[in-house]
Symmetry: C2
Subunit: 437 residues, 2 copies
């Protein structure tokens, strides 16, 4: 009989309680699958309040550090959250004692992952964090082990359910960003302070982790260009639909001639792509391997049961004795990344301008784009019933929507600055990058 893997869990919120239940319920299967019984022997949490999970026979540790140091714990499961202490020092303590650690804490891994991975590699423990990105979607395992022999050109995804829910509602019901955000908050899909999600920072932390696994680069959240979804208007989603696109908040990491470009921004994706089909709070990641068609993994990116599923899978890998390098390669082999200057980004663009009531506005815009060698794939000018092109019925501004062929971001900026100087448009141009599949 093999000795059981003795698990200590720090944090007994929704996920922690579900992990305790899953290990109990799946006990026999887990032992069969991993060749070793898995047993929760100790837990700790901020309060000892009554919980909807049976903790009888399980030791209560006085704090996370005590749990991490407990010689009867082989594997620390950190489910407290927070990018610093006590999670950080508990994990550090466990790894330095040669234990394995499983965590769902993306902020901590994005900020301190390299240091922790180094400790794991040095002392022989595992550091698993499947639940940190895309919850139950096995994207970490796929990048870490499943595509080990395939060079990766691009990895991109919908990594934030809150933003995808808002964009879905806006598109399907023609509602404003603010209305949909309020609904998301009411349904518990968005926090009271939603800025971390809607401004793209949650996506950026997850992208930083995926990019490291995909490209062998150091996790570097600060290398990522980040733009959120609050400027997206229902008319952008309508125009996108008419032009064969959908707007998604994507995290994109892509190999370019200038290095690895990492960016988070609202993105037009072709309606026929796998990623465009992903609606509501669902997450998805697409991986473009060298010479092979894209692989897309779709599923729940959050939720207690989905997160717990990934945590238990990580625990099972520890029980099996799998000790993959946390970021796919040893930390000292990971390369530094620089922040990709978005001015050098190349791609197609969607541009929405409000043309003033001038004759020749379209010609002026087209000239300014041509001066920057930007080719136009399509141009749509809305003119209410009966009015002349470029002129609304009431003489107010009318929207002009352009899709460009691939060009440079700085060329787009220069062209739009010139158009603004020409005083043929009112307000700020809306610019959304296009990602082709």
């Amino acid at each position: 009989m093999v000795a059981p893997l003795r698990v200590g869990i720090a944090g007994l919120g929704t996920v922690g309680a579900e992990v305790v239940r899953l290990i109990e319920r799946q006990g026999r299967v887990l032992a069969e699958r991993t060749g070793r019984p898995v047993k929760v022997v100790a837990v700790t949490a901020r309060s000892k309040k009554k919980r909807a999970v049976d903790l009888s026979g399980i030791k209560w540790a006085k704090d996370p550090l005590a749990l991490a140091a407990d010689p009867e714990v082989d594997c620390l499961v950190e489910l407290m959250g927070g990018a610093g202490d006590p999670a950080l020092s508990a994990i550090d303590t466990a790894l330095k004692a040669g234990k394995s650690v499983v965590t769902a804490n993306k902020a901590l891994i994005a900020k301190h992952g390299l240091k922790l991975a180094k400790a794991a590699e040095k002392h022989g423990g595992a550091l698993n964090f499947e639940a940190a990105v895309g919850a139950a979607i096995p994207v970490i395992k796929t990048l870490r082990e499943g595509l080990a022999g395939t060079g990766i050109n691009r990895v991109y995804g919908i990594l934030n359910g809150t933003c995808n829910y808002i964009l879905t509602r806006m598109e399907q019901e023609g509602l404003s960003f603010d209305e949909c955000l309020k609904d998301a908050q009411r349904l518990g899909y968005a926090e009271a302070d939603p800025s971390f999600d809607i401004h793209g920072h949650d996506t950026a932390q997850k992208l930083a982790i995926l990019a490291s696994l995909a490209f062998g680069t150091q996790v570097a959240e600060k290398s990522i260009y980040v733009e959120g979804i609050s400027s997206i208007a229902p008319e952008d989603l309508r125009a996108a639909a008419e032009l064969g696109y959908r707007v998604k908040l994507l995290g994109v990491a892509v190999r370019t001639a200038k290095g690895i470009e990492q960016r988070v921004h609202p993105t037009m994706v072709p309606k026929s792509s796998s990623i465009a089909q992903v609606m509501d709070v669902t997450n998805a990641v697409t991986i473009d391997g060298e010479g092979i068609p894209p692989i897309t993994l779709v599923g729940p990116g959050a939720g207690g049961a989905a997160t717990a599923s990934a945590v238990v899978a990580d625990i099972a890998d520890v029980a099996r004795g799998i000790r993959s390098a946390p970021f796919g390669r040893p930390v000292d082999k990971l390369q530094a990344t620089e922040k990709a200057p978005m001015e050098r980004h190349e791609g197609g663009y969607y541009i929405r301008l409000m043309a003033r009531d001038h004759a020749g506005t379209a010609a002026t815009i087209a000239t300014r784009l041509a001066e920057q060698k930007i080719s136009i794939e399509s141009i749509v000018q809305r003119h209410p019933n009966g009015s002349e092109p470029g002129k609304s019925a009431k003489g107010g501004p009318v929207p002009v929507i352009l899709i460009t062929y691939a060009t440079h971001e700085d060329a787009v900026h220069r062209a739009l600055q010139a158009v603004q100087r020409d005083k043929v448009i009112s307000g700020k141009p809306q610019v959304i990058r296009i990602e082709k599949n």
Copy 2:
């Protein structure tokens, strides 16, 4: 310095040659990722003809058995295909010598996988076959390791690119099955003898493997109900589209009160489901875990580069020392399955009948269904311009299309037999099962 993993490759077709190239090209990354250099030391193939891959410095073994027995080979990679010898005895020889084996051979794994897994478990080698199902889609790894702690309720997928290509073309262009099959053959997507693909047997072999991994059952191709796509007509795809469905050839394994039901048949899936978006030769697998929303993995299910990618990932796992039970659990823990009697299948049905030119046909059909307690969700009766319901302009038969709520398959059969006895329809009714997401 760790000793390299010495790989021997049997079979140098498209996949074998690409594996040699990938290991060469990704050498440094593979060593970093697995902690051990990976080296192709020996190969064998039917002919020694010149190939578009550099084999200098690599030993040529006289046959697959000699390669398997070569003491300088640690890991046998079998890419010859065929459900029997020489692949079978080569793999058996390698495993019994304590070596690890990687294969892309689904027929062999479906037929002899249990025996081979037993040998692997006994002698301590790995038996990896990611490429056997869905090529580069990491579905084997996900079921074997990624969802280890989650009970699975259902796994289903599009596992045959030939059939999905034909159904896609039929739907998009309104062409007949025969026309699309010919095109598929011309493009190399279908074999000269396409029966193994179009009659569902290829899907069944892959499903047998997935079901074992998902449910801990013995691989048993003969337990699977199999029905192919050759009876599908363009009018079925048109009707499906109008009713909000698409027709896909699915392999479905599902936990029911009566045990694990395994079946392959053309299936109506809701157009909004992830699986319905999968077009052309692309494959996809959806996994329904207990208490969590579905996870769908989409990607190339065939092709030299995609298959080679999965083979090299399997080799990398061998190099890392990962020794998961080939079917997720030890062979002696896998349970026997019985063939699920389709008569007891429960679900919704699409039924297309050609109603003869009789008044009251619809009423007769509705009565026969009601006698079997089958509730109708929708009924569509096509009547060409200006003609009466149930009567075509020329007085010939007109199609009646029904969607039922969930019912039993034997009830559907009894109702349709009664309708046929009533002589109100001509020809054989078309019946397609509906799978809800």
